[in-house]
């Protein structure tokens, strides 16, 4: 069965539809690999205590996300944040969790071109929108995005745990303003925290990325 035909809505109770319960159907779809759901993590499989109780309210679970230009089918709990979906369902671990509370910016991704903290966005709210992560910057032929190349050339960042968040913020900045001043660059990156405090080289990298962007 093609994944595109998978039913989008789960009711509060299992209703049969042509002899197949919706929940059973979706479980089957997940197990068969038609949709991606690799690891359990905070998304309970139906074996914990809540398995006995009816689900609270009607929630669509199996949704389509547009991630890095690809349509990805994924089983999403209603309370799930985008960073958890990206990391634990779609295997995109380049997006990091630094604080999980919108304080550090390590989880920054682009949604329709604008930087967002993926720890503070509910996955269900970004259906149909273009999500871009660090994994989506490199071209298929291996050519790095100008911001990535500039970081490599300037030896930007130290531990780099914050790096993907910074790179996404910088990408959004240069998309809007390919000729920023150093202060404008700093302002655009001010939602991202670097505990190694390599801010000087980070700004050097962004200024170089701006040069690459203008030259491209």
């Amino acid at each position: 069965m093609a994944s595109g035909e998978i039913i989008e809505t789960i009711g509060t109770t299992d209703k049969t539809n042509g002899g197949v319960s919706r929940r059973g159907f979706i479980k089957g779809a997940i197990a068969s690999g038609a949709a991606v759901s690799s690891s359990a993590y905070v998304f309970r499989e139906q074996i914990g205590v809540l398995a006995q109780s009816p689900a609270l309210g009607a929630v669509e679970r199996l949704i389509t996300l547009n991630v890095n230009g690809q349509s990805r089918r994924v089983d999403v709990a209603k309370q799930e944040t985008l960073v958890m979906t990206l990391r634990y369902k779609l295997g995109l671990t380049g997006t990091k969790i630094g604080c999980d509370r919108a304080e550090c910016g390590s989880c920054t991704v682009l949604i329709d071109g604008l930087p967002h903290y993926a720890c503070s966005v509910l996955t269900h709210n970004v259906r149909g929108r273009a999500i871009q992560t660090i994994e989506g910057l490199e071209r298929p032929d291996g050519t790095l995005h100008p911001v990535q190349q500039a970081v490599v050339d300037e030896q930007g960042f130290q531990c780099a745990f914050c790096m993907s968040g910074f790179i996404m913020s910088a990408t959004a900045l240069l998309e809007e303003n390919p000729n920023p001043t150093r202060t404008q660059a700093a302002e655009a990156l001010s939602g991202n925290l670097c505990r190694c405090a390599d801010y000087n080289k980070i700004l050097d990298s962004v200024m170089r990325a701006a040069e690459y962007t203008r030259g491209a």
Binding site: A40, I47, G91, L189
Partner: protein, 804 residues
């Protein structure tokens, strides 16, 4: 300086592409089939005893696979810390851990554990605990003397000093001195007696101390977030109850540590043991909230410094007394290191150091970037600044007058005399003054524009910069490539690559033809220095240079054997070994590698030097027969202790209406020997400086004093500097004197530690300068401190009060 091809040149480290594309895997990025997840039950109280712990209801939850409690762990001797405890000594200390099929089930199980806690007395301030009837943080005492927990109380008479705003100086277990202190003070033109406070400070690496573990065929595979690779294996083996040979540690990328993840951490046994119990992989994902408690912190100090100065600024006598906020566990020696570093940076003609560490029910302390040195420099820099002001001499000159020079001597933590390999501190200060334009900048001191007043400041910070005696291990293979193995770690300093270049340099090997092997003990790594304490740059340029020279000698011998004449007649360059008199006679590296394998013995690692470490022997044995092996222990001359120095210059602007402090400019100059990799050096210097700026301006804990609970536990409330808190209109400036250390081949020394104190010290002096010489003797300086000072209002809290 020799004409190096790699040393001193900029390049891009080979881990960068993995990092910028998101392919680099940190601990939490690993997955294993059937992986379980852990959640911790942590203490809600600062000090309590577990009266009962009932896990039955939690175990009944479907999906719960195992619950680990303190009783199932190996016992740990006081005052050391275990992974789990029945007597939590700080809020957030783990009591039990649940492994379940997912994190939500584990969290629910934690909620179902019935735990009855008996609250016990707690202490948040060393001075409270030192009072005659003050509380002890631990049931067995309030301090540690020679590894033994004891109780020390001071008298009411001792405490009379506190009412005068001075640190009381009662009985302390540690003391050393040299020179004639009384004569020094008698001779002095100016004597200052200052009481000061430096806060405790969480490390807050952006990656928490997450760890995943699984067992396979009796071996335990661990994916932790640690700083050191080779040096973490032994500790993990002890935790797991296996031989170090049965530990496979995989950790290629670590999201910062700053000392807090040196060679493992006490919570690693949790996933390791839960995985053993369940037979499944276990991921312990540490949250930011948990990291704030279990993630280590720098011990704060309450200090008193009496310093005598000659008319020219030279220190005749220094009497330093330090009370350390020691947290609940261990025996941090930061308070003694503060004195050690003071004896080095300021070279007092006579000195006495006294101190004590007092346990408190606050998060555990650990080494943090220049442990002890930062506290000493942060507290003493404003005293030096004040003395210069009172003596009418330049505030940078007073640092030069006292600066270490040549093989300067200093005192170790126990008071033993020691000396450094070299010091070019005056040169560093001169160069720093030049790049900052210090003399002209000072004209702006106290200048007011609207409500904003400008101030400038300077501080000198010194610290240990490297160890010796480590092993190097390289293999030149028939594919013509050089494989450089290293057991240090990759927490962001990039010294994995920067030190590996020493081996390539020794062989004139193009960097593109090398491959660095790191971060996975199954890939045969040599015994290496701890990735901490600024050790690796020094230790492993030496060890890799030694391995490079060993390989070079073997290349010459292999060539001489086949082509005749003496090995010394052969040159190694351009990926060939050839006769100096006739360069056409020789062989390529690839050919020599094949020939080395045919010859066997010491050429391909079948015979090894006798003085290398056992770990290196095992790794070299596994690599034997794969090519021409360079393997050697660093036996180069040791000419003293390797120490580096950074001088920092700051310009700040203080808004006297709002109390807001803005850092306008900063420049730093280092004396750290030969520059290995300019961009990384600049990153280390300025990154350290900025961490110091956080000490001076923003980071602290706030505790609820009634309940002993941490209030400031978020990045927002305990805030490291962000990009807008720093000068960003143009690049911050850094420089280094770049004079090779005479006692090390290549001559490079470490640099991670000293910049931090240069940052905190210079900023505090600049704030005082803006206020016309008002010194707070306390960090961080907040807006309300500025405003109450300007309004001459009483301070909101006592000078020495902790965590407010």
């Amino acid at each position: 300086m020799p004409d190096y091809k790699l040393i001193g040149k900029n390049y891009s480290t080979s881990d960068l592409v993995a990092k910028v594309t998101g392919r680099a895997k940190y601990a939490e990025d690993f997955r294993a089939e059937g992986m379980l997840f852990t959640k911790l039950l942590s203490s809600p109280m600062p000090h309590a005893r577990v009266r009962s712990l009932n896990t039955r209801a939690a175990e009944r939850i479907p999906g719960v696979e195992a619950i680990l409690t303190a009783d199932q762990l190996l016992s740990v001797e006081a005052p050391n810390e275990a992974a789990l405890t029945n007597e939590p000594l700080y809020e957030g200390e783990p009591i039990a851990a649940v492994a379940a099929v997912d994190e939500l089930t584990a969290a629910e199980a934690v909620e179902r554990i019935q735990v009855e806690l008996e609250p016990l007395p707690f202490s948040l301030d060393p001075l409270d605990s030192l009072r005659p009837n003050g509380p002890n943080a631990r049931s067995d005492g309030n301090t540690v003397v020679d590894g033994e927990v004891k109780t020390i109380k001071w008298t009411e008479t001792d405490f009379a000093e506190l009412a005068q705003g001075r640190l009381p100086m009662g009985e302390v277990p540690q003391e050393w001195s040299y020179g004639d202190l009384d004569a020094g003070f008698a001779e002095a033109e100016l004597v200052l007696d200052e009481t000061a406070f430096n806060q405790s400070l969480s490390h807050q690496p952006l990656e928490t101390r997450t760890c995943m573990a699984y067992w396979q065929n009796g071996k335990v595979y661990v994916h932790p977030s640690v700083q050191s690779t080779a040096r973490s294996v032994g500790r993990i083996a002890r935790y797991a109850g296996v031989s170090p040979d049965d530990v496979v540690l995989i950790n290629e990328y670590t999201g910062g540590g700053f000392g807090s993840k040196g060679s493992g951490y006490p919570q690693i046994p949790i996933p390791v043991l839960l995985s053993k119990m369940t037979g499944k992989p276990v991921m312990m994902r540490v949250t930011r909230r948990e990291e704030n408690f279990i993630g280590r912190a720098r011990p704060g100090i309450q200090a008193r410094a009496k310093i005598g100065f000659r008319r020219d600024g030279r220190i005749t006598a220094m009497d330093l007394f330090v009370v350390q906020d020691g947290g609940p566990y261990g025996a941090s020696g930061d308070y003694l290191t503060a004195a050690r570093i003071a004896s080095l940076a300021y070279q007092p003609l006579a000195m006495r150091a006294r101190g004590i560490s007092i346990y408190t029910n606050t998060p555990p302390r650990g080494a943090q970037r220049a442990p002890g040195g930062v506290q000493g420099i942060t507290v003493l820099s404003p005293v030096m600044d004040s003395a210069a002001r009172q003596l009418g001499i330049d505030r940078a000159e007073i640092l030069k007058v006292n600066a270490p020079k040549g093989q300067a001597s200093y005192r170790e933590r126990n008071g033993d005399e020691s000396h450094v390999t070299s010091a070019f501190v005056r040169e560093a200060i001169d160069k720093g003054m030049e790049i900052f334009n210090w003399r002209e900048r000072q004209a702006r001191s106290g200048q007011r524009r609207g409500s904003k007043v400008t101030g400038t400041g300077v501080a000198l910070s010194s610290y240990s910069a490297g160890s010796t005696g480590m092993d190097g291990l390289i293999v030149l293979k028939p594919d013509g490539k050089l494989y450089i193995h290293t057991g240090i770690g990759n927490l962001g300093t990039e010294s994995v690559w920067d030190t590996s270049r020493a081996a390539a340099e020794a062989l004139d090997m193009p960097w593109e033809k090398t491959e660095v092997v790191w971060g996975n003990t199954s890939r045969h790594l040599p015994w290496s220095a701890s990735q901490g304490g600024s050790q690796t740059t020094h230790a492993h340029t030496r060890s890799n240079w030694a391995a490079g020279l060993d390989a070079k000698r073997k290349l010459q011998e292999v060539a001489a054997r086949d082509l005749g004449e003496d090995p010394d007649a052969y040159e190694v360059a351009n990926e060939r070994v050839y006769r100096r008199s006739n360069p056409s006679q020789g062989m390529s590296f690839a050919q020599a590698a094949e020939r080395a394998i045919e010859l066997g013995g010491r050429y391909d690692g079948h015979e090894l030097p006798e003085d290398i470490n056992g770990m290196t022997v095992k790794s070299a044995t596994a690599l034997a027969g794969l090519g021409l092996m360079g393997v050697a222990r660093d036996n180069f001359e040791v000419g003293g202790r390797s120490m580096s120095h950074v001088v920092g210059f700051a310009e700040v602007e203080v808004d006297i209406e709002t109390g807001k402090i803005k850092v306008l400019d900063f420049a730093a100059c280092a004396d750290c020997g030969t520059i290995l990799h300019p961009r990384n050096l600049g990153g280390q210097i300025l990154g350290g400086v900025i961490q110091g700026i956080g000490i001076a301006l923003s980071q602290k804990w706030v505790f609820d004093r009634r309940w002993g609970l941490l209030v400031a536990k978020k990045f927002y409330s305990n805030r490291p500097p962000g990009i807008l808190d720093l000068p960003h209109h143009e690049p911050m400036k850094w420089a280094a004197v770049d004079i090779p250390d005479p006692f090390s081949p290549i001559g490079a020394r470490g640099i991670g530690e000293p910049p931090v104190g240069a940052g905190s010290g210079a900023i505090l002096c600049a704030i005082a300068d803006a206020l016309g010489g008002s010194y707070f003797n306390r960090s961080p300086v907040s807006a309300d401190m500025i405003l109450t000072e300007l309004e001459r209002l009483p301070a909101a809290h006592d000078l020495l009060m902790t965590h407010v």
